[in-house]
């Protein structure tokens, strides 16, 4: 694991569980995850759709739709204070002020009938106790900071008058207006053109160094991870199955799922007929298997994988992985080294 700074983590998630209680049963969207975020660090949370990565981010700010959603257990420690048990009033002071969020849908995440400048300024008036004029000026300044041309004019416009890329810039300006300590970016570039994607990522990176905040980058795009993240947590079916530095994840992926993910990327130097995929599908969150959740899709599966779920265990090189293959109980034919490649 790569540690950016040695002091206490700014955000610490311990055993977080977010469950949805529906008529069909209990859906365990997030089922006991742990990670830490240091000041100035960018942590990537990767995984396919439905693995619980967005629910994790919404849980941190307690924004999960409730009912039916509920944080069923665990802690989210921000500067040592537990956000899960905090009163709604205290939580509101954190939201948008100390921990901000950028959502993945820039087209629908801005209020269509309120000028974008006002949408930025209202958070400043609320959290920074700024006056109308001061907040507006700061909003215009923020729009300028995120690279929107003629910000004075744009601030007075409504979202429908702005392009997708500009709207995402507005979202970023809004999220950063109060200079938060933590920024959660939930697929900030998914809905954008590739050229705009690079600009937005560079912008987040740039502002991060300026403001020194910790960033949680939620994405399914390994390219985004490689470009922006220091550490990566790979999620599968509501669990973190591998947690390592970006370097380690790309050079030496340990979990068969992570290996599969990297394998499914198209390769430039090989002559590939078709893209490789991971066979099978994710288990239903309503009916999780008692063993390893990836077992049925795993090329190295053993009887033990179906009996009991492995823990997320730290290896000698600091990588945390949730797989029987890296334990003493492993009896598989495949040698560890081979499995690791």
């Amino acid at each position: 694991m790569k540690m950016t700074e040695n002091n206490k983590p700014i955000l610490e998630v311990k055993g977080l569980k977010t469950h949805f209680f529906t008529k069909r049963g209990v859906s365990k969207a997030v089922d006991g995850i742990d990670f830490t975020l240091q000041k100035g660090e960018t942590l990537g949370i990767v995984g396919e759709s439905g693995c619980g990565k967005s629910m994790t981010s919404l849980s941190i700010l307690r924004l999960i739709p409730s009912p039916p959603g509920k944080i069923a257990g665990g802690q989210v420690l921000y500067k040592g204070k537990d956000l899960v048990t905090m009163s709604e009033d205290e939580m509101r002071k954190i939201r948008g002020n100390e921990i901000s969020m950028i959502f993945q849908e820039p087209m629908t995440s801005l209020n269509p009938v309120i000028p974008v400048g006002e949408q930025i300024a209202e958070a400043l008036r609320l959290h920074q106790k700024m006056g109308r004029k001061a907040a507006w000026d700061r909003a215009v300044e923020m729009l300028k900071l995120v690279g929107i041309p003629s910000p004075e004019k744009r601030a007075k416009q409504e979202p429908f008058q702005l392009s997708g890329g500009m709207r995402q810039r507005v979202m970023i300006a809004m999220a950063l207006a109060c200079k938060p300590e933590v920024l959660i970016a939930d697929e900030p570039t998914t809905a954008l053109d590739v050229t705009i994607q690079a600009q937005i990522l560079a912008l987040i990176k740039d502002l991060q160094t300026k403001l020194g905040m910790g960033v949680i980058m939620i994405t399914h795009d390994l390219g985004v991870v490689a470009e922006t993240c220091d550490n990566v947590a790979v999620m599968y079916a509501g669990n973190i199955i591998e947690y390592a530095s970006t370097e380690q994840i790309f050079s030496n992926p340990k979990h068969p799922y992570t290996q599969g993910l990297l394998d499914s990327l198209p390769k430039i130097y090989e002559d590939q007929e078709e893209l490789r995929t991971i066979e099978g599908s994710v288990p239903s969150p309503y009916n999780m298997p008692s063993g390893c959740r990836f077992a049925s899709r795993c090329p190295f599966q053993q009887p033990i994988c179906y009996q009991q779920q492995p823990e997320l265990m730290e290896q000698n090189d600091g990588v945390k992985v949730r797989c029987w293959m890296y334990t003493d109980q492993w009896t598989g034919q495949v040698e560890k080294q081979e499995a690791v490649k």
Binding site: L61, R95, F103, S109, N111, V113, I114, A123, L126
Partner: protein
């Protein structure tokens, strides 16, 4: 914005002309000959023919229509067949009464309807929501003449706190306005509720929450403005229904308004009076719709007039 209003105003001209056309020809389809009615029972054929001649009713319909149209544009709505008074004078006496009634009714529709809708939407599927929506369902289902009579029975006859009928003080307005506004309020309440519930689920409400805004600000600033867009349309349409409703309510509460005047005139086959009355009512509706459009544009700037 001014340009928008101006263009929209010009658009109403063909609408108004269309209304005169429809009003004029529909009245021709109504059975019963005004000349016969005027002449009274047992009048000779010559007398009836004389009256026809005198009123110009024997001329071709289109000639009558164009005469009528030209006169209207000169402010001449003809003379009542009943008492030979100018129709316009009669209308101008009664119009303010109906406008007042309509105004208070639409206020009840908007205030009561939206308040009920918002209360329901804030806690959906709660006891409050269910009860409010049940009342709204009654509001939509009850015929206004029955509802009006019930109000009259309880508040005027039993409790004796409000006047039974007539139009003298503000107290006289309450029951008729309530009768007339209730149905609309119920529809607006249901519309506001469903629209609010739709809006509350939107991504931008989540963004507002993520900003740390208070629930009150989220509901009234971020959700309501968006939720009102479809509601405004419904209110505009309700106003049309409400104008039609004045006919019944004015009759029940013995109010000397435009609606009652039209009913009486129809009974008398007083053609100029009916035409004048309906034309004025239509024009009010056209003007209200113009207001609705302007409001709509104010709330939703994406609307551009093509």
């Amino acid at each position: 914005m001014l340009m928008f209003i101006f263009r929209r105003l010009i658009q109403t001209i063909p609408v108004v002309i269309g209304v005169t056309f429809v009003v004029f020809f529909i009245m021709q389809l109504v059975p019963g000959d005004p000349a016969v009615l005027l002449a009274g029972e047992g009048a000779s054929k010559e007398t009836i023919a004389g009256i026809r001649e005198q009123l110009g009713l024997n001329r071709p319909l289109f000639v009558q229509y164009f005469d009528y149209l030209i006169n209207i544009f000169q402010g001449d709505f003809g003379l009542s067949l009943k008492n030979s008074q100018p129709v316009l004078d009669e209308i101008l006496v009664r119009l303010p009464i109906t406008m007042e009634l309509a105004f208070f009714s639409i206020i009840i529709t908007i205030v009561l309807g939206m308040a009920a809708g918002i209360i329901s939407a804030i806690k959906p599927y709660s006891l409050t929501d269910t009860s409010v929506m049940l009342v709204a369902l009654f509001g939509i289902s009850l015929p206004s003449f029955w509802f009006g009579l019930m109000l009259m029975y309880f508040f005027s006859v039993k409790l004796q706190i409000l006047p039974v009928a007539g139009w003298d003080s503000i107290l006289h307005v309450i029951l008729p306005a309530l009768t007339l506004g209730a149905g609309g309020a119920a529809i607006v309440a249901r519309m506001t509720r469903s629209s609010m519930l739709e809006v509350i689920r939107q991504d931008y409400i989540r963004t507002a929450r993520a900003k740390g805004l208070r629930e009150r600000v989220i509901v009234y600033k971020h959700a309501l403005r968006n939720a009102l867009i479809p509601v405004i349309t419904v209110v505009g349409l309700q106003f049309g229904a409400l104008l039609g409703g004045t006919v019944l309510v004015e009759s029940i509460f013995a109010i000397n308004g435009l609606g009652r005047m039209i009913v009486d005139a129809i009974r008398m086959r007083d053609l100029p009076m009916v035409q004048g009355g309906v034309l004025f009512a239509s024009m009010i509706f056209v003007i209200v719709n113009l207001f609705v459009d302007v409001f709509y544009r104010f709330f939703n700037k994406r609307i551009e007039l093509n």
